[in-house]
Amino acid sequence: MQNRFIKLLVFITCLLAITACSSLHSGSGAKGEQGVSAQQAADQVAESKGVGSSDTFSGENTVNGADNSTKLLAPHDQIYYFDFDDSSIHSSDQASLGAQSNYLAAHPDKKVRLEGDTDERGSREYNVALGWRRARAVAQMLEQEGVSKNQLSLVSYGQENPVALGHDESAWRLNRRVELKYTN
């Protein structure tokens, strides 16, 4: 009886540990869930586009470091999402954008590519322009925080590079995005 009880306790503890781990990695702020589901969607689509892992930052306190660069850990590639026909950045993304810009400003040799995308509705070249606006919005926010223009390259794929292939809002919301990708 005691043996079984211990096994049950161990089992429950493990379960809790696993749940705790996954919530640690589900990212910062409200964007976390969306980041995870994008990852799942990308796996199902079987498209080898290297959609980044969910946003996780484990930066250390750098207040005292003269040598900041060795203290900051490299952030990962990241995805930012947008509303329909809109290019304004969600306020919930500002924290993670801040972390990206801190890192990039401290490492001027690091470069990122910002890829703007839209959902499939509307006219294709107009969507290239809308994706461009989104990429520009992210670029401007990074530049305001001290990232140099030289570190950023921008491209808009419009609706041509979807990660989700459905024809409804559950797919469209995953396609309205800017992907931030480290190129070195």
Partner: protein, 432 residues
């Protein structure tokens, strides 16, 4: 109706590609006009053994049927099988209410084939067209399209587009491989596809030069957008524009000497005009808006484009000379990708009404907008060079396919691909 001399020889422009029996796209008529003209295409005598794709009778019948304007009658209703105009008993045909007859003959000889045909108007009992050609068997299909053009023009008064071509982007996806994008050129019925570019990156906005010999397009190879122009026959291409940011929506001026395109040199997408020979670049629109999707007026004096300068995408017109801009569309909250009909009096465009994206035509004088399609998921309209048909992208059964609709809305066709998705079509100019 013109009587043509018998024995007139017509030299066909040689097609440099072998005709093939393969069609990547399959054309299906989904709606024809109510009062289609009844016509009988008698089987051409002397058709040699070969593939079905070379069967001239079958190609002409399919062309005319797919135009939606003809009721192409089947053999079992023919009252007789005359071998030439001289032996036609027109009262027999009138009794069956058949208005036109086509009689054709193919004769082989040592250097190829002599093909002749006659188009007979039953009611006036006159020959409307009579031609003779000398061709090789691998030109049968192209010659059949040419004959369809003649028949179509004689009976409708409009120039036929059976000898024109279309281009489109084919997107294919297999498990464990990146997507493949192919820019293809095919006959207007989908046959004889040839690739111009195969890429693992998106291809967009193909645009035929006015002489039909070159194609401009946007390619994302190298992870950024660039505009290329390719010689369709040789496949040689040159890089036209590769500025940082957007290089998009190339559009040829009517004389073929300039390309309108979209660049973000000023940080916003704006319309520029590039002189192809001198490489001079002129900015044509300015401001903070998105300006894109330029297309030239037939007289080359103005360019229509999509802009959100008024708050949502609408069509505007800019004068090439003084850059004065004027708004054109006022109906619906989203109008985009407009192009002129050949007579310059109307535009065809993507139009949204109640969240549904359809193809519409607007009369520039009255401002009246007429929707041509109903699916709600349409894009990329492209006019045939006779202004009578629009080729566009649409969805059917969860796949991206092409559609064709006549500019009066009465005739509808669908072109799905055998495999994959097909999008971004463009209709060639007249090629002969």
């Amino acid at each position: 109706m013109i009587f043509r001399r018998l024995g007139q020889i017509f030299i066909m422009s040689l097609l440099l590609w072998q005709a093939s029996a393969f069609a990547m796209l399959e054309l299906e008529l989904t709606q024809g006009v109510d009062k289609a003209l009844p016509i009988a295409i008698l089987p051409f005598t002397g058709q040699p053994e070969g593939s079905d794709a070379d069967n001239m009778t079958s190609v002409i019948r399919t062309d005319l049927r797919n135009s939606g304007r003809f009721q192409v009658l089947s053999d079992d209703v023919f009252p007789e099988h005359p071998m030439s105009f001289a032996s036609v008993n027109s009262s027999l045909w009138k009794r069956n209410k058949i208005e036109g007859i086509v009689i054709g003959r193919i004769q082989g000889n040592s250097s190829g084939y002599d093909v002749n045909f006659q188009l007979v108007d039953v009611y006036s009992n006159k020959i409307l067209a009579s031609q003779e050609y000398h061709v090789q068997q691998n030109q049968f299909r192209a010659l059949a399209h040419h004959i369809s053009d003649i028949i179509y023009q004689q009976l409708t008064g409009e120039r036929g587009v059976f000898s024109t071509r279309i281009t489109y982007v084919l997107v294919q996806q297999w498990p464990d491989r990146p997507r493949q994008y192919t820019l293809e050129v095919a006959d207007s019925d989908g046959f004889n596809p040839k690739p111009l570019l195969i890429s693992s990156h998106p291809i967009m906005s193909p645009a035929w030069s006015p002489d039909g010999k070159s194609m401009a397009y946007v390619s994302f190879e190298n992870n950024h957008a660039a505009i290329y122009v390719v010689d369709i026959i040789t496949g040689n291409r040159r890089l036209i524009s590769e500025y940082p940011g957007i290089n998009g929506a190339p559009a040829w001026s009517p004389d073929g000497s300039q390309l309108a395109l979209v660049l973000t040199k000023t940080d916003q997408p704006k319309i520029f005009v590039l002189d192809i020979n001198t490489h001079q670049l002129t900015q044509v629109t300015d401001g903070w808006s998105i300006d894109t999707e330029p297309n030239w007026a037939p007289d080359g004096q103005s360019i229509i484009f999509t802009s959100d300068r008024g708050g949502s995408p609408q069509i505007y017109r800019v004068s090439v000379n003084n850059h004065h801009v004027q708004r054109i569309t006022f109906s619906g909250n989203y109008n985009a990708r407009a192009s002129f009909t050949p007579d310059g009096k109307s535009i065809v465009m993507l139009h949204r009404e109640d969240k549904l994206f359809n193809i519409a035509v607007q009369d520039l004088q009255t401002g009246r907008v007429t929707e041509l399609t109903r699916s709600g998921l349409d894009d990329s309209p492209s006019l045939a060079p006779n202004g009578g048909m629009v080729l566009y992208g649409t969805q059917y059964g969860d796949r991206a396919v092409l559609g064709v609709v006549s500019t009066d809305g009465r005739v509808k066709l669908r072109l799905p691909a055998r495999e994959g998705e097909v999008q971004e079509p463009a209709w060639s100019p007249f090629l002969s």
